[in-house]
Amino acid sequence: MGAAMGDELELLRAADPVPAGAGRWRDRPLDARAEAGLARLLHHTRTRRAGRRLMLRAEAAVLALVAVVCFLLSDAGSSPAAAAPGPIVPHADTRPVPLAELARRAEARARAAAPGDGPHRGSHVQSWYLSMQAGPDAAPPVTVPEERITRWNADGSGSELVVATDPRHPGRPVIHDDDGHWRTVSDGKVLHRRTYPAGSEAQHGGLASRTRPPTDPAKLRAELGWLYGGAGGARTVTPLLQALSSFRGEWTPGPRETAAVVRMLADAGGLRPAGSVTDRLGRRGEAYVHDGTGLRQMVILDPRTGELLGLEETFTTDQPDFKVKAGQVMSYEAWMP
């Protein structure tokens, strides 16, 4: 094709966003992950699916909250425990701690950390997600509480456990989103349990889980952007905090990574200190709030260590298509060591 500028297909070819000769998806022999994927299909297809589905759900959990759901809540008479927890309100009489000050505390702790102090793969999170329907016949959203523990050991063995529970109301029935069907189940019901023998980790990890988190704040931010951000990366605070949440679902940071997280948040701007709070697990934390259009995000950090304790996302405008009202909490995630 001689007249390159004259041929629309040539122009389009030149604008290929994912070329075959360069970049992450370039042609080359299979990498270890792709090889493992093939081996799994050839030899272990059956055991694999449930694990991968869980991983998808764990890592993209926030997507699950907009799954189209069928309203199957049978026992309308007894109200489940987690009907609609409200947003966390900062204590009025406290002096907010600036993020930069907390970053210094976290950095001091990082300097004193031993070489073996984290990070480790896996996470322990208690979450409350608003499960919504869309459309004219949408039912009002419900909050789905879950506890999720993923562990990977040095020998590559691991386990996943998902339990329906709301620690604020022990013993009361809770709502469970069963692939789009809302059901009430008893507190503590095991939704998923799986153990993996030694050597399994390499086969079950995604790219995100194989990429050890950097301890440099700028590098961490870049990595959160390309690994967990959408097409636009994590250039503004809203996607940055959402990427941070996805990251925390994969990794439990040690003191060095925690220091990088807090410094990254301090450098990001757009987060204002809101004072101290008591989170849904009864822990004391410092709250930092980002007000986006229609959505408020509150990140909660441990005031002594800077560790990420929680992230709350609250609607600040009505969303009639989803029957969502301003003030409803879209999600709250509480991470544990």
Partner: protein, 183 residues
């Protein structure tokens, strides 16, 4: 060669091509791309008895189905975020005014984005996946002549959009007396 061997061969030969196919279409992170590609091959594995002699266009067809399911889920969430005005992509769309501000190809992408999704797909499959008309027919699940016609029409409409974009760019460049920048 057994069905399983044929599948393994197709997997090795086309893993990266399928990854690129997904990466070009999924408005998502590298991690999400990997997940979708795994799903594509998992579905292809279940349907491996249907694997044709040249499997790539067929794999693309599987990937298209897979993507439309994934994107339905993702897009619902993104639509919500976009409406809230928070999503990065929404911001970017508002702030990028010059078609070639970010990279040389971006105005071609803009022209492409103004076409119908069916036109876009035919053009992407031809230009980026480099499919022949016969292969295009396999991926799109239509006859050869229908594929040829769809490509012909889509090309014409892309041409028109490109011409329109370039006219707008030169006019805009002329307005600020800054024409050299786009040249």
């Amino acid at each position: 060669m057994s069905t399983d061997d044929a599948f393994a061969e197709a997997y090795r030969a086309h893993y990266w091509a399928v990854s690129r196919f997904v990466a070009r279409r999924l408005d998502g992170s590298a991690h999400e791309v990997e997940e979708v590609v795994a799903e594509v091959f998992s579905i292809a594995w279940r349907r491996r008895t249907e694997l044709p002699e040249s499997p790539l266009p067929w794999l693309y067809a599987v990937a298209r189905n897979c993507l439309s399911n994934t994107v339905r889920g993702l897009s619902r969430y993104r639509r919500l975020l976009n409406r809230l005005g928070n999503h990065e992509a929404a911001h970017r769309r508002q702030t990028v005014e010059s078609p070639d501000a970010e990279r040389p190809g971006s105005w071609v992408h803009e022209a492409l984005a103004r076409l119908s999704s069916a036109d876009q797909e035919v053009l992407r499959l031809t230009a980026w996946e480099e499919l022949t008309v016969e292969e295009l027919a396999v991926t799109l699940g239509c006859g050869r002549s229908a594929a040829a016609m769809r490509l012909h029409r889509a090309r014409r409409r892309l041409r028109a959009e490109i011409d329109r974009t370039r006219t707008t760019v030169s006019a805009r460049a002329g307005d600020d007396g800054n024409g050299g920048r786009n040249g």
